[in-house]
C-alpha cells in the first residue's frame, strides 16, 4: 500500500511539470497569437483530435499495426540472430561486422526503395522499414548481453560439466535480459518514428504518416499535430509496456529494485 502511495507521489512531479508546460505553451501562444501557424496551442490540437476522431483512430490503427508487426518481427529476428551468433563463434566473426556496416546505412532513407520492392501502397514496405530499423539495436545489445558474461560464471558451469545449451539457458540468457529490455525501450520509440517517416513515402493512404503530410500541405497544422499526438501516444504505450515487461521479467535486477523502493 505504501508502495502504491510512494509510486503516486513519485509520479507527481513529472505530471505537475507536464501540466505546467502545457499551460505555459497555451498561454504563450494565446498572448503572441501566431494564428496556429507552425505551432497551434494545445486546446486547438485537442479540438482537432475530437473533430477528426474517426479519421485519426483509423490512422492510429493502421500505423499501430505497421509498428506492432514490424517491431515484433525485428525483435524476434534480432534475438534469434544474437543467439545464433553467440552459439557459433565463426558466425559472430562474419555477421557482426556486416551488421555494424549495414547499421551505418541510414535505413530510413531506404523507405522509397522498399516501396519499389513491396509496392507503393502496400503496408509491407513500411513494416519492412520498421523491422530493419528495430533489428540492429536488438541484435547488437542482445549479442553483447549474451557474450559479456563473467568468465568465472562460465568456468563454474564448466566445472559442473554443464553443456553449452545449459550455459546459454542458465547464464547467457539471464545475463542478456537487462540488455534486451534496454534495447526494447529504445526501439519502442524508434519504431514509431520509422513507421511514420516510412509512411510519408508510401503505404496505406489512411495511416498517420500521409495524414500528417496532407494536413501540413493544406496548412491545417492543428490536424497535423493531432496525428503526431496520436503517434506519440503509440510510442508512450509501447514504452510503458516494455518497462512493465522488464519489471515482471527480472525482479532481481538492480534497476527494478531501485525503482520499486
Amino acid at each position: 500500500m505504501t508502495g502504491l502511495r510512494h509510486r503516486l507521489s513519485a509520479s507527481l512531479p513529472p505530471v505537475a511539470f507536464g501540466l505546467a508546460g502545457l499551460a505555459l505553451w497555451e498561454s504563450l501562444l494565446r498572448i503572441t497569437d501566431p494564428r496556429g501557424f507552425v505551432l497551434p496551442p494545445p486546446s486547438e490540437i485537442v479540438a482537432a483530435l475530437v473533430d477528426n476522431w474517426s479519421q485519426i483512430w483509423t490512422g492510429t490503427r493502421h500505423t499501430g499495426y505497421v509498428i506492432l508487426t514490424g517491431l515484433a518481427a525485428g525483435v524476434i529476428l534480432g534475438v534469434l540472430a544474437a543467439l545464433l551468433v553467440t552459439r557459433f563463434r565463426s558466425a559472430n566473426e562474419t555477421i557482426t561486422p556486416v551488421a555494424t556496416a549495414v547499421n551505418a546505412i541510414p535505413i530510413i532513407a531506404l523507405a522509397p526503395v522498399f516501396n519499389a520492392w513491396f509496392g507503393l501502397i502496400s503496408p509491407h514496405s513500411n513494416q519492412a522499414v520498421v523491422t530493419v530499423l528495430v533489428f540492429f539495436p536488438v541484435f547488437i545489445n542482445v549479442t553483447k548481453g549474451l557474450t559479456q558474461v563473467q568468465p568465472s560464471q562460465i568456468e563454474l558451469m564448466r566445472s559442473y560439466a554443464a553443456r553449452e545449451r545449459q550455459i546459454t539457458r542458465e547464464v547467457r540468457i539471464p545475463n542478456a535480459m537487462p540488455f534486451f529490455f534496454n534495447s526494447l525501450k529504445i526501439v519502442s520509440s524508434l519504431s514509431v518514428i520509422a513507421a511514420i517517416v516510412a509512411e510519408y513515402f508510401g503505404g496505406r493512404q489512411d495511416a498517420l504518416g500521409p495524414m500528417i503530410i496532407q494536413s501540413a500541405g493544406l496548412t491545417r497544422y492543428d490536424d497535423a499535430w493531432a496525428a503526431v499526438f496520436a503517434g506519440a501516444m503509440i510510442g508512450i504505450v509501447l514504452y510503458a509496456l516494455a518497462a512493465l515487461a522488464e519489471r515482471l521479467a527480472m525482479p532481481w535486477h538492480a534497476s527494478v529494485r531501485e525503482a520499486a523502493r
Binding site: 563473467q150 568465472s152 560464471q153 568456468e155 563454474l156 558451469m157 564448466r158 566445472s159 559442473y160 560439466a161 554443464a162 545449459q166 542458465e170 547464464v171 539471464p174 535480459m177 527480472m250 532481481w252 535486477h253 538492480a254 529494485r257
Partner: protein, 259 residues
C-alpha cells in the same frame, strides 16, 4: 600406497605459445595431495596459483604433464562432477534466489526438485544462513554471499574442493569467522581441499600443508607441513602457530628475493 586425491606430474603451462606475449605460467610442477588433506597454495602475484588450480579443475589444458584426480584424468573427474569450486568473487547468479543458487549444480545433475530443495535447506543451515533461502544475492553482505558460494560448492558432495582466494574480498573479522566455518565444514565432510591464498596466517591456520610457489616461471619452491592439531580460538595465539607463520614468511621471502 593409497590413491592420491590429486597427482600432478611435470605440469607446464605456457600461454600464447610462440607469440610475442608468450607467458610461462607453470614449469614442471609436481604435486601429490592425499585424500582428506587441506593444502594451501601461496606465492607472489602472478606465480601461477590460479593457473594451477584451473589446470587441476580441467578448465584449461596443461601444455605438458599429467593430472590425475582420484586416479582419473582431470577431464574425466570434471565430467564426473568431482569438483566443487569457489572463487574470490562469489560468482553467484543474481537472477536466482540464494536457495536456487545452491540448487543450480544439483539441477544440472538431474536431482529431483524435492531432493534439491531439501539439500539447499541443509546447506544453508551448514553455513548458518537458514533464513535467507528466498533472498536474492544482491540483498546479502559480502561474507554471506561467500558462504552461499561455499554452500553451493559443497552441495553435491564433491570429492575435491578447489578455492581461489575465496575470502580475499572480506574484512579481517569476517575472514576469521569464515576460516573457522570452513574448517568445521571440512572436518564434517572430510573432502580434500586445495586453497589459494595471499595470506600467510590464513594458509597456516587452515592447512595441513602449505605449498609455496615462486614466479616466472611458476614452480613449487617449498612445501611446509603444518601440524598444529585441532584448531580453535587459541590456535591463533599459540607459539606453534607463530613459528609456522615465520617459516612460511621466510620461504616466501626467499622466493621473492630470488627474483
Amino acid at each position: 600406497m593409497t590413491e592420491c586425491a590429486v597427482r600432478a606430474e611435470g605440469i607446464t603451462k605456457v600461454f600464447n605459445q610462440g607469440r610475442p606475449n608468450e607467458v610461462h605460467a607453470l614449469s614442471e610442477v609436481d604435486l601429490a595431495i592425499e585424500p582428506g588433506e587441506f593444502v594451501s597454495l601461496i606465492g607472489p602475484s602472478g606465480c601461477g596459483k590460479s593457473t594451477l588450480l584451473r589446470v587441476i579443475a580441467s578448465l584449461t589444458e596443461p601444455t605438458e604433464g599429467q593430472i590425475t584426480v582420484y586416479g582419473k584424468p582431470a577431464e574425466q573427474a570434471r565430467l564426473d562432477r568431482d569438483y566443487g569450486m569457489a572463487f574470490q568473487h562469489s560468482g553467484l547468479f543474481d537472477w536466482r534466489s540464494v536457495a536456487r543458487n545452491i540448487e543450480l549444480p544439483l539441477e544440472l545433475m538431474g536431482w529431483s526438485r524435492d531432493k534439491r530443495q531439501q539439500r539447499a535447506r541443509e546447506m544453508l543451515e551448514l553455513v548458518k544462513l537458514g533464513q535467507f533461502g528466498d533472498h536474492h544475492p544482491a540483498e546479502l553482505s559480502g561474507g554471506m554471499r561467500q558462504r552461499v558460494a561455499i554452500a553451493r560448492a559443497l552441495s553435491f558432495n564433491p570429492s575435491l574442493l578447489l578455492m581461489d582466494e575465496p575470502f580475499g574480498a572480506l574484512d579481517e573479522m569476517t575472514r576469521e569467522h569464515m576460516q573457522t566455518e570452513l574448517l568445521r565444514i571440512w572436518s564434517e565432510t572430510g573432502t580434500t581441499v586445495v586453497f589459494v591464498t595471499h595470506s600467510i596466517p590464513e594458509s597456516v591456520y587452515l592447512s595441513s600443508r602449505v605449498v609455496v610457489m615462486s614466479p616466472r616461471p611458476g614452480r613449487i619452491s617449498t612445501e611446509i607441513p603444518v601440524d598444529l592439531g585441532g584448531r580453535d580460538a587459541d590456535t591463533r595465539e599459540s607459539p606453534g602457530f607463530f613459528a609456522k607463520i615465520t617459516e612460511v614468511r621466510e620461504a616466501l621471502r626467499a622466493v621473492e628475493g630470488a627474483e
